[in-house]
């Protein structure tokens, strides 16, 4: 198992994209914190950047990598190795490489500039977002043999979670603005890992005081330690469930 993971990681690191990604994250993070004199503002800017780029890069790179690994998977399958193990090793390898990039690129500056608790939550959120979108890439690549289609699905997933979902929520908010739907909003946000992460971090910054009644309800819910644990459990589910579905599918797949 460890050997296969090692080969996957070496293969990914040999691909310069991951190094480039680390570098970009590092440049963005350091410059954001150096440009803003207020660390809260810095965190806010970085949050938006991270919640756009991290899912995008994770989902697309992983998806392409999986299609390109068709040969590797075939080679491994002719060896005495379980299918589930191959799939799992690929997952661990990809998640590990991207988490490493994220922690080096964005994690270090966060630890230096942000308040410790917010920085830590943000790193954890980044780690989970990475894992979730790698898992979603596994899901989209296992459902179709067509590379273009698979990558298309991956991009759609990113678009949906990063942009469309917010639009839909806003639409709901305006349509039902006369009704007390704040609690529903809390539940709805659990359906999108990106939103969930964003709210979690916003609620740990002082800006939440500016967000009116909904903000207060959110703060009331997301500010507690219990809520942090619940959020991370939901994020964990978002990682495990897509991966498990892809694993079940992969076990019965013809190569």
């Amino acid at each position: 198992m460890n050997r296969i993971v090692k080969f996957v990681i070496l293969d990914i690191l040999r691909n310069k994209i991951v190094l480039f990604y680390t570098l970009i994250l590092a440049v963005l993070s350091w410059s954001v914190f150096n440009l803003e004199d207020n660390s809260t503002k810095g965190i806010l800017s970085l949050l938006n950047v991270i919640l756009l780029t991290v899912p995008l890069v994770s989902v697309i790179f992983s998806c392409i990598y999986l299609y390109n690994s068709a040969e590797f998977i075939e080679l491994m399958l002719s060896q005495p190795i379980k299918r589930t193990k191959i799939w799992f090793c690929l997952f661990i390898g990809l998640v590990f490489s991207f988490v490493l990039s994220f922690v080096i690129g964005a994690g270090l500056p966060l630890l230096v500039y942000a308040p410790f608790d917010v920085g830590l939550i943000m790193i954890l959120v980044g780690v989970f977002i990475t894992a979730i979108f790698v898992a979603l890439a596994f899901l989209s690549s296992v459902f179709t043999r067509d590379k273009a289609k698979g990558i298309g699905i991956a991009i759609m997933l990113w678009l949906f979670f990063a942009l469309l979902f917010d639009g839909m929520v806003l639409f709901l908010l305006f349509q039902f603005s006369d009704y007390p739907i704040e609690k529903l909003m809390v539940v709805l946000s659990a359906l999108n890992p990106i939103d969930l992460s964003r709210i979690l971090i916003l609620m740990h910054l002082d800006v939440s005081a500016m967000m009116g009644y909904t903000g207060a309800i959110f703060k009331h819910f997301f500010g507690t330690n219990l809520a942090i644990s619940i959020v991370f459990v939901i994020l964990l589910l978002w990682t495990i469930v897509p991966f498990l579905i892809s694993l079940i599918k992969f076990k019965r797949r013809d190569l």
């Binding site: 050997r3 293969d11 390109n68 040969e71 491994m76 002719s78 060896q79 190795i81 013809d254």
Partner: protein, 236 residues
Amino acid sequence: MIEINNLHKQFGKLKALNGINLSLNQGECIALIGPNGCGKTTLIKSILGMVIPTKGSIKVNGFNIEKTNLYREQIGYMPQIGRYPDNMTIGQIIEMMKEIRSTKRLPDEALMNKFLLPGMLQQRMHALSGGTTQKVSASLAFLFDPAIFILDEPTAGLDPLAAETLKEKIIEEKEKGKLILITSHLLSELDDLITQIIFMQEGNVLFHLSVVELLQSTGEIKISKAISNILKNTKS
């Protein structure tokens, strides 16, 4: 060694395998032949567990292949078109396979050395010619001294010299009492190797005969002629 029982495989509407029953024994060198798209590669991939059968069972050394993957330790597989991770070098691929197998036995590097691969270990897989890739595939299949060889078009793409080297190696292994399953289009190449012939057509096994039987029943000296003879007879 390999028992195949009522094997069916369907890809969507296409029936690739249509109730295959075969029994392949030790010490035989079996040619699996038939027109393009007759299900040869599907059959081979089913044995390797790459294709999941719709119906039927395969047993290797008495173990149902759905239940275990350890039987693959006993199989050396050379694919028709070897596809390898582009970024890795020949040396890395061979190292990786050795690490993954982690057998105590010494690897059989004879074929690798005859193909002069040790001098090219630094080359990356994507830069290799088709023939060299085939040499790597062949070397990997023979590396772990397995009891069963499954060779899908082994000589396609190899230069005559390399093809001859590979044939010598196959004969050597056959004499050690191993089971060798070869698919090929070029029958003349196999004349001096094989002991049995399986002819497949449209997902069915048309016949499974030993070479001696085949030649006797048709009265021909060459295998290719004998087969075309049978085919003509079955058609008319």
